[in-house]
């Protein structure tokens, strides 16, 4: 699908869509206390969200008017932040995820969400 979305505008949309998708996934997983999966989904959401900015930059270099996409990204960042803040109030700051067949993983959930919010706030 990544190659179908060729072009800086299309890539921007692609990355924002995936960022939205993984944020929703993370929120749902946190609600069901699936912290490890939620944590990973949030990492993915952050990764795609960070990329959107790169494609906006590229679009600007290509002399495309990016005003409407910047607005879109700003609004998305606001909504993401709102969702992340609501999630952070319902999860523990740290969590030790003990898998059946592998060593336990310490998840610093509070730090992770703060980091995610920080990534979004840079845009706002």
């Amino acid at each position: 699908m990544k190659y179908w979305y060729f072009g800086s505008f299309a890539q921007f949309k692609y990355n924002l869509k995936l960022s939205d998708k993984y944020l929703v996934e993370a929120k749902t997983l946190f609600e069901y206390k699936q912290y490890l999966l939620g944590y990973k989904a949030l990492e993915k959401s952050d990764l795609y969200f960070s990329k959107t900015h790169l494609f906006l930059k590229r679009a600007k270099e290509e002399k495309k008017n990016t005003g409407h996409l910047q607005d879109l990204l700003r609004q998305a960042a606001l909504k993401h932040t709102e969702v992340l803040e609501s999630v952070s109030s319902n999860i523990p700051p740290d969590f030790v995820w003990i898998s059946e067949k592998s060593s336990p993983t310490v998840l610093n959930l509070e730090k992770s969400i703060k980091n995610s919010i920080q990534i979004r706030k840079k845009i706002i």
Binding site: Y5, F6, F9, E62, L69
Partner: protein
């Protein structure tokens, strides 16, 4: 007499080419110097002129068809007429009755200039581009297939990103396919009436040569696919049918007919061309009738079945039905042209006008023609 007829017809086409420039879009700033606003401020006069043009075109069309029937119109003369009208209308203004050519240009620009996927990014997203201000479907992603997108690269690069030049390069592409379709109809039918039926049909002329719709590209590829099938080049035939479908998707409705022909071909039985074109005509006509379900019944969709009807000239009902429906479809533009409105009542009026002329002919045919044929038979 015939020579004068051709001269008058060509003069009429020339006048129509000039008439088309009354419709220059006020937003198309590149032609600001010749913008008159005439068609917007003198709607009554423009509409009357248009109706006169349509009736004269059909009068000439019927005369030429008659001349072809009595073998008074020869190949050389017909070729001259077709080439002359193609050249003249190549220089007409494209968006008299439709703005699709601007959509083709916009989609090509999104793809080849901005290097964006037109199935994801809409022209409206390039807010600082003045060349999209006159595009009517700027808020839509590409409506056409990938083969059309590839083909549109040719006129786009030949137009050097100049909107006025591109208007003509895109038109030239459609004119080329119009001529190729005619050559193919001639190759398949070897009949001048069939060629005249398609090539001189005012609806085909207006929608393809004037309004520059890409339907003829799709139809040419479909016809070429059938031509390959007749010549037993099955693989090539399948390839061209797929290419045709990937222009505007409509020819997907030909697949059942195509499979039927393919089976006949495999059984080493000769394809009954008449039956084959008849089924193709029916398929495309059904699709045309179903088009309001998707959006609206646009007159250029008639090109889909007119091309196949040109092989059915012995079927008198179809022959005249298509002629009368073509009149109805072209007159269907009148309510909008006259009022400048596109409300539901105007669309309803358009449909009434479209239906009226083929309906009158159908009633006439079944009341008088069919009856007299039956009476003679008895």
């Amino acid at each position: 007499m015939k020579k004068y007829l051709v001269v008058v017809y060509i003069l009429l086409i020339l006048l129509f080419t000039a008439f088309s420039y009354l419709f220059v879009d006020p937003n198309f700033s590149y032609l600001k110097s010749i913008y008159t606003s005439f068609s917007f401020t003198h709607r009554n006069f423009t509409t009357i002129l248009y109706v006169i043009f349509i009736f004269l075109f059909f009068l000439f069309y019927l005369i030429f068809l008659k001349l072809a029937q009595i073998k008074y119109l020869v190949y050389r003369q017909l070729r001259f007429i077709i080439l002359t009208i193609s050249i003249l209308l190549l220089f007409s203004y494209s968006s008299v009755l439709s703005y699709d050519i601007f959509n083709y240009i916009a989609t090509a620009k999104v793809t080849y200039f901005y290097k964006e996927n037109p199935y994801i990014v809409m022209p409206i997203e390039f807010t600082n581009d003045p060349s999209f201000t006159f595009v009517r479907a700027a808020n839509k992603i590409s409506l056409y297939g990938p083969v059309w997108l590839v083909l549109s690269g040719i006129p786009f690069y030949m137009g050097f990103n100049n909107p006025v030049l591109m208007l003509f390069t895109f038109k030239a592409l459609n004119v080329a396919f119009y001529l190729l379709t005619i050559v193919l109809i001639w190759k398949i039918s070897k009949n001048l009436i069939s060629v005249s039926f398609f090539a001189l049909n005012p609806l085909v002329i207006i929608e393809i040569l004037l309004n520059s719709h890409n339907d003829t590209v799709m139809i040419f590829l479909a016809l070429f696919s059938f031509y390959c099938l007749i010549k037993n080049k099955t693989k090539l035939s399948i390839l061209f049918l797929i290419l045709s479908i990937l222009i505007k998707y409509a020819t997907v409705f030909l697949i059942p007919v195509y499979v039927y022909a393919l089976i006949k071909n495999k059984e080493k039985k000769n394809i009954n061309k008449d039956r084959f074109f008849y089924y193709s005509f029916i398929s495309m006509f059904i699709l045309f009738l179903l088009s309001p379900i998707r959006e609206e019944m646009y007159s250029w969709y008639a090109v889909w079945f007119i091309a196949f009807a040109s092989f059915l000239i012995t079927k008198k009902y179809i022959y005249y039905f298509v002629v009368f429906l073509s009149i109805g479809l072209l007159l269907g533009y009148v309510p909008y042209m006259y009022t400048g409105l596109y409300t539901s009542s105007i669309i309803l009026l358009k449909y009434i006008i479209i239906i009226l002329s083929p309906l009158i002919y159908t009633v006439y045919y079944f009341l008088f023609v069919k009856k007299s044929v039956l009476a003679k038979g008895l």
